[in-house]
Point group: C2
């Protein structure tokens, strides 16, 4: 069996090895069923239990009450970018966004198909290297909803507290790249959504946590697949859902619970990221690119003293079994994505490699 | 390792065992990469090769030229039900449908959100137990496109030839339940689409084969994710695609090629279904429900002499290791789904079981 590498990919990303082990077995036959997990009917008893357990463990992990619906939908966060405004905007209606980078901008672009977009704050003036503070955010008073991106995968920034729009204004959060990496106050949100392929599972499935009154207030007359109420009523099985993705997500939920839940996960993630940030702060060759108060514990972005050094570094790191460190094509430099499933020893290996690279290229 | 059963599920359905074996290995590390197939970046070299090979083998299997785009999309056939009319219909525009059952009706319902629906033919008068002949279909002359469902999973009927709307009218086909089970003349269609979970792979991914001029003529101003042109331009990687589904579909394409391609597949499927239909025609307890000229080689629907016998039969068959035989909840009775990957010996086992059940309950 080929050795597995420390994979720094930003997504699809590394998954917990116990989950992969379970999936390999389930692929051939799930539990005692004699039928592989890919081959089970989504309406059969085995899969019904899988999806019910996934919902229950999701609720347990984040303390989510019955006033919220847990949905497993297809199309990733990119589908939520338009499905939310299609549900609640319309002519003359506005949504108010905090713009912290590429993903906020994509969400704003799709919202603009259905209504007006208001920019409540933006960190574009400093190349998205920081997160605006609550004082720097001016929500539009009559916006139908407010929206922010909790972690910017590309710039390596992360909100450290939840922004606070007026209490009557539902707050929507794209948490694709930091969901369940730390405790989250779902009650402060109208909706939290996340593509699975960073912290939760494979690509091709999104987790949507949605306050039930918002489901009811959504626009009608839309295609069935684009109505949250249709999916909610059918328990995410209006059409054949992505069963394997739901199975894996359920296994990841169990794994997080085994790690001690979201508090424990946050502690591990914060200590893990600190190993890398501490080195970046003392290095004379490498430097972090995000402002210190806005640093992400999920995506650590950094530069070296020259683009030539960066190219050699990425090449040599890949050869040394540390793949996936190239920064997003839109910003260059390096990025270490160290989501929940990324092991601490992988970060230590990276820092050791950086130290020796710096020494060698002094 | 638990023994695998003959799984008659209508979808998600049985997959070829060599594909499952390959997937189990790839889950831990794909080829020599040291990274599992779920964890590979969709923009990395390994996955780029996976998707390029899948497209190439799809073209090879069905002889699809460069005038058609091959797309891997999320949301299943249910998303195509609305994405097609959203792309080509509008106020005052009509699509003309052959209604052969539940799935045709669902497609018609979603089309009606965006334009007018014309029923060119329907077999509802006989509970969808037959496929209208070409002579029985009256397309609306000014329809923007024509639509049919090549195989009705629920009633167990299948078109034996492609319907022929006026040559200038693009013909759309929902081939979810019989795609690549036999040769298909893609050139006779504007678009062929299929949810993967019956003949092609896991749920959560749809194959869309689309004539390029139709992509260009589609409505603009829609959300990015709902525009075929956006997905075509990005090679199905506009957002993170369902990478595992694409990998599995690619492996299934290779497996079909190894079986001898679509001609060989058709021969196997037709002989396989005949074993069951021949028995149904001679049995005094069981009878097929579809009209003989409209019988599906994918889903064989049948009834017994009483509902009590049917209930016992399904229960005893399941206990004997033949699960998934219960008919769709909307029609009752029994259904044996015997897609490409379903082995002939499983059909023989079913017929043997039916014979002994009939003998025992005489």
């Amino acid at each position: 069996m080929t050795e597995r590498l420390f994979n720094f990919s930003a997504g699809p990303a590394i998954l917990p090895e116990p989950v992969l082990e379970a999936a390999r077995s389930a692929l051939w036959t799930f539990e005692d069923s004699g039928i592989g997990i890919l081959e089970h009917s989504h309406r059969g008893a085995y899969f019904t239990r899988v999806i019910e357990e996934a919902v229950a463990n999701c609720r347990k992990l984040a303390g989510i009450g019955e006033d919220y619906e847990i949905l497993f939908l297809q199309g990733g966060a990119s589908t939520q970018f338009f499905m939310a405004p299609m549900s609640w905007l319309g002519n003359g209606k506005t949504a108010s966004f905090v713009n912290t980078g590429t993903w906020s901008k994509k969400a704003m672009k799709e919202a603009n198909v259905f209504g007006d977009v208001h920019v409540a704050a933006s960190s574009e003036d400093e190349n998205f290297s920081y997160i605006p503070t609550n004082d720097e955010i001016s929500w539009q008073d009559n916006a139908v909803y407010a929206h922010y991106t909790s972690n910017n995968t590309i710039a390596g920034t992360q909100f450290t507290s939840i922004p606070t729009p007026p209490s009557s204004m539902p707050l929507l959060c794209d948490a694709s790249s930091d969901i369940f990496s730390r405790p989250i106050d779902i009650g402060a949100h109208g909706m939290v959504y996340a593509g699975a392929q960073k912290n939760l599972g494979p690509s091709g499935i999104a987790l949507v946590i949605l306050r039930k009154d918002l489901i009811e207030s959504a626009n009608e007359g839309l295609p069935s697949m684009l109505q949250y109420r249709v999916h909610a009523k059918a328990g995410s099985c209006f059409n054949t859902p992505p069963t394997f993705g739901i199975y894996i997500m359920g296994e990841v939920f169990k794994w997080i619970l085994e790690q001690g839940g979201l508090d424990a996960m946050a502690k591990i993630n914060s200590e893990k990221a600190a190993i890398l940030y501490d080195f970046l702060d003392e290095s004379e060759m490498f430097r972090g690119t995000a402002r210190k108060d806005s640093r992400s514990n999920m995506n650590v972005t950094f530069r070296a003293n020259s683009e030539e050094l960066e190219a050699s570094f990425i090449k040599e790191a890949t050869a040394a079994g540390l793949p996936g460190l190239k920064g997003h094509r839109s910003v260059g430099g390096m990025r270490a994505s160290i989501y929940n499933a990324f092991p601490t020893k992988g970060v230590t290996a990276l820092v050791d490699f950086m130290k020796s690279f710096e020494q060698k290229n002094k």
